[in-house]
């Protein structure tokens, strides 16, 4: 009937992405009329980080030099399968780097982006006790949508700290026997992932100084990974990642359907509930889940038995939020939400069972912060001769 109007509607231009930083700034203007309102609630950290995306590395000429000679091998199967599972693309490289001095992680006092820097002082809003279901429901309502085009890339910048585990074994490369060890490896990462999975992605990782896994000495190995390395994330024929935006877009948009999907995902030897919870993180971490599916995911997550709420959970950037988590192998894996908007801040792992986790109760054994999620027209081209598809031979 209204063909002309429908024609105009059909060809509406793509909406530009709304960066989290710009969005947070606009929101802050509403609630921040005075000095009090400018309270450093987390988002200021975000702003600082997005203004200086590589703040930590700036001035670090050594890092640039190291990157040029970095040899990276992306192993088909990672060794660091910790309590907080990593995305498949995140296998640590068996990088052999020349010893390059790392610039020390100095905060500038105004931001908490450097893990070793001073913590941001935040004034916490009063939060009523809420159930997991309610938090997840609120998160679902805060869902936003970036609407990337199929030919674009989802770009995610994050800071991570995960456990690196090594069982006592003989190193196949060197023939050296090694003792069982654990440490926490820390990185700043930026990943570019093709929205439809048809274009090669890229990953930039800046290694930060490792930390001790509470209760374990830092092994010498922990200091091997230094500097910055890049990896190409090639498209492997016929195998679109199941976390590609266009794949995620096809997931169920109702909680029940999403729940079925969570329980149907590959979970290895994990019990079904653990597998389903792990799937929740995998769908959110370094991905962009469209708003409808995100809403469904949050609701579905709340139905997984054992999901709990922790007030005052802090992410790797020092931002505080509400942790929604589940205990696995003695570690409670929290997904941390901004307590006001319920945007994803990051994740953390906290030991709750000393025996199961083999680390003192209360230890922080994983901590990440998803600093910025945006849409990019292209991914950097990475000269990465070692990148190839797993099972590529």
């Amino acid at each position: 009937m209204n063909d002309e109007i429908r024609m105009i509607a059909r060809e509406r231009p793509e909406a530009p992405p709304y960066s989290l930083a710009a969005r947070a700034a606009a929101r802050r203007r509403l609630t921040g009329d005075g000095p009090r309102g400018h309270g450093l609630f987390g988002r200021d950290v975000l702003r600082a980080v997005s203004r200086r995306p590589y703040g930590l590395a700036i001035g670090g000429a050594a890092l640039v030099a190291a990157a040029a000679v970095t040899v990276v091998t992306v192993m088909p199967n990672g060794t660091a399968t910790g309590p907080v599972a990593q995305p498949a693309s995140e296998q640590p490289p068996s990088a052999r780097l020349p010893a390059a001095p790392l610039p020390s992680a100095q905060g500038d006092g105004a931001s908490g982006e450097a893990g070793g820097g001073p913590e941001v002082v935040v004034a916490l809003p009063k939060i009523a006790k809420v159930s997991a279901e309610e938090v997840l429901g609120r998160a679902a309502r805060a869902a936003t949508d970036l609407n990337p085009r199929d030919d674009q890339f989802i770009k995610v910048s994050s800071q991570t700290m995960y456990g690196a585990f090594s069982i006592g074994a003989t190193d196949p490369d060197t023939g050296e026997a090694s003792e069982e060890s654990r440490y926490l490896y820390r990185t700043k990462r930026t990943i570019w992932l093709s929205a439809d999975g048809t274009r090669d992605g890229a990953l930039k990782v800046e290694n930060l100084a490792p930390r001790a896994y509470p209760g374990w000495p830092i092994p010498e190995d922990a200091y091997r990974e230094k500097g910055t390395w890049w990896a190409s994330l090639p498209v492997c024929d016929g195998a679109t990642r199941d976390t590609a935006y266009t794949s995620l877009r096809r997931l169920p948009t109702d909680a029940e359907g999403m729940r079925d999907y969570l329980y149907s995902r590959e979970r290895g030897d994990n019990p079904p509930d653990v597998g389903a919870w792990t799937a929740v993180g995998d769908l959110l971490r370094e991905t962009y889940l469209p708003a409808a599916q995100r809403a469904a995911l949050f609701k579905a997550a709340a139905t997984i038995p054992g999901v709990t709420v922790t007030q005052d959970a802090q992410d790797a950037a020092g931002r505080r939020g509400i942790g929604v988590g589940r205990v696995s192998s003695g570690v409670r894996e929290d997904i941390i939400f901004d307590p006001k908007t319920y945007e994803l801040l990051g994740e953390r792992g906290v030991v709750v069972n000393e025996k199961a986790a083999r680390s003192p109760v209360g230890s922080l054994v994983a901590s990440t912060a998803q600093l910025e999620v945006t849409v990019a027209d292209s991914a950097p081209e990475v000269d990465d001769p070692t990148s190839e598809c797993a099972n590529g031979g």
């Binding site: 509406r12 960066s19 929101r27 203007r29 006790k129 709420v309 922790t310």
Partner: protein, 216 residues
């Protein structure tokens, strides 16, 4: 320090959503309720922002391009916040109100919008994607669209409408407002919306060289 609440604990009294029985996580206050609550507790207005900022940003971005989207969106909500005491509590959905404010701000950027539309319109004559210029990125979208060849013509047709006509048309076509909502946004009777749209469609048909109405 670390407090953990089990899922099955009795649900405590929630402070959110304000004024709404805490029955189910899906029970949420209307925009009107949030705006009403924000008169006493200004921070509650952030809830209106959380709900609609992305949509308004997308609309502004479509009309003015990425360079103005952030600022105009921020300005829209700031103005809305300042005028919130005048919000009609009988209207549960604040979208028409917000779109109305955004529309008026967009009209202050008419030259930017015309530049953008003319850039789209010119695109037909270019073989290659010209270097630089955010507006040209839209061409790639055009390539995906089935009616790719129509796009420059549509942009040209949009550019030939009056500012008021374009405002109304795009609230319907790009913001997906109903006639009633568009009328509310623009502060005109819905009958006016209908008659204006009739005129707009006739113009579009003429500029796009489409058959007259009634022709199969």
């Amino acid at each position: 320090m670390v407090r953990t609440a089990a899922t099955d604990i009795p649900r405590p009294v929630s402070q959110w959503p304000p004024g709404v029985p805490d029955r189910t996580p899906l029970a949420e206050p209307s925009d009107a309720e949030l705006i009403g609550a924000s008169l006493d507790r200004p921070d509650d207005f952030a809830g209106v922002f959380d709900r609609h900022a992305d949509e308004i940003h997308a609309y502004v971005g479509r009309r003015l391009g990425p360079e103005h989207a952030d600022d105009v969106t921020a300005e829209t909500f700031l103005l809305a916040f300042r005028k919130r005491h005048r919000y009609d509590p009988a209207r549960p959905d604040a979208r028409p109100w917000l779109y109305g404010i955004a529309s008026r701000l967009i009209s202050g950027h008419r030259r930017s919008e015309m530049r953008r539309l003319k850039a789209f319109a010119r695109a037909a004559n270019r073989e290659e994607r010209p270097p630089g210029g955010d507006a040209y990125d839209e061409e790639r979208t055009a390539e995906r669209a089935s009616a790719a060849a129509m796009r420059p013509a549509l942009a040209a047709a949009l550019a030939r409408l009056s500012a008021a006509e374009r405002e109304l048309l795009l609230l319907i076509a790009w913001a997906d407002l109903t006639y009633e909502e568009a009328a509310e946004a623009l502060g005109v009777p819905v009958g006016t919306v209908r008659s204006r749209l009739h005129r707009i469609r006739a113009k579009l048909r003429r500029h796009l060289h489409l058959p007259e109405e009634g022709t199969p």
